[in-house]
Amino acid sequence: MLFRDVNLELMNKVLGAASLRHKVIANNIANVNTPGYRSKEVAFDKEFEEALGNGRAEDALRVEPKLFSPDTGTTRMDGNNVDMEKELARLQKNATIYNVIAQMIGKRLASYKEAIGGSSD
């Protein structure tokens, strides 16, 4: 390998998790009227941040996003516990994170390009 950029790998990791989370939210919203469906979430941020906070980037890179169904109750007769407002809010939040990280990756790659070739255009 010519060179290794751990920050870029970390950003890729976050982007991958955000991408999976987007699909999970899409699935929750698609199943808002499915009787008995339990809403799903992605567990990633906490473990990832803990590893990063301890300065262990290699550990953070090994964190895999996991799916789980939070044990929230429901007031609905059909046993479905999808909260539409919550899902839409999480959708916006996740998309913002995704967009910011994608932009950061782009900027980083552009700076490499500039370093190699002179112009980033």
Binding site: A26, A30, N31, V32, N33, A102
Partner: protein, 145 residues
């Protein structure tokens, strides 16, 4: 994740859109037939209900643990409601019995209107996911610029 998997969010959301639209079609049929006293099966029109079921995504890679559960939704069945028909007193009606009562469909238009609003909002929510995905995708493509 293969290239096609990149767009799997669209598959999930479009399954939601299509399921909600099917529900809307069924509701439209129920409302249109709220006064129908004759059907090919005989008797008044029976209210129809859609049955939704979540779907497994068989192509999802194992690396994304549990990701197989994310296959969206589908309409598995459209079933007639077992609610009682309404018995209405209308002696002049051609389908009235000897006491002047007519069996009317078990459609309650108020329920149908509420269901219709629920279907319409769920449809909009699925569209919102598609819109957000489109923006995310354009940001992803911008990485290469």
């Amino acid at each position: 994740m293969g290239f096609n998997r990149m767009f799997s969010v669209l598959d999930v959301s479009s399954s939601g859109l299509s399921a909600e639209r099917t529900r809307m079609d069924v509701i439209a049929g129920n409302i249109a037939n709220a006064q129908t006293t004759r059907t090919p099966e005989g008797g008044p029109y029976r209210r129809k209900l859609v049955v939704f079921s979540s779907v497994l995504d068989e192509e999802m890679s194992i690396a994304e643990s549990g990701g197989k559960d994310l296959g969206g939704v589908k309409v598995v069945n459209i079933v007639p409601s077992t609610e009682e028909f309404q018995r209405v007193h209308a002696p002049g009606h051609p389908d009235a019995d000897k006491d002047g009562y007519v069996m009317m469909p078990n459609v309650n238009t108020v329920y149908e209107m509420v269901d219709m609003m629920s279907a319409s909002r769920a449809y909009q929510a699925n569209l919102a996911v598609v819109d957000t995905f489109r923006e995310m995708l354009s940001r992803t493509l911008a990485i290469g610029r």
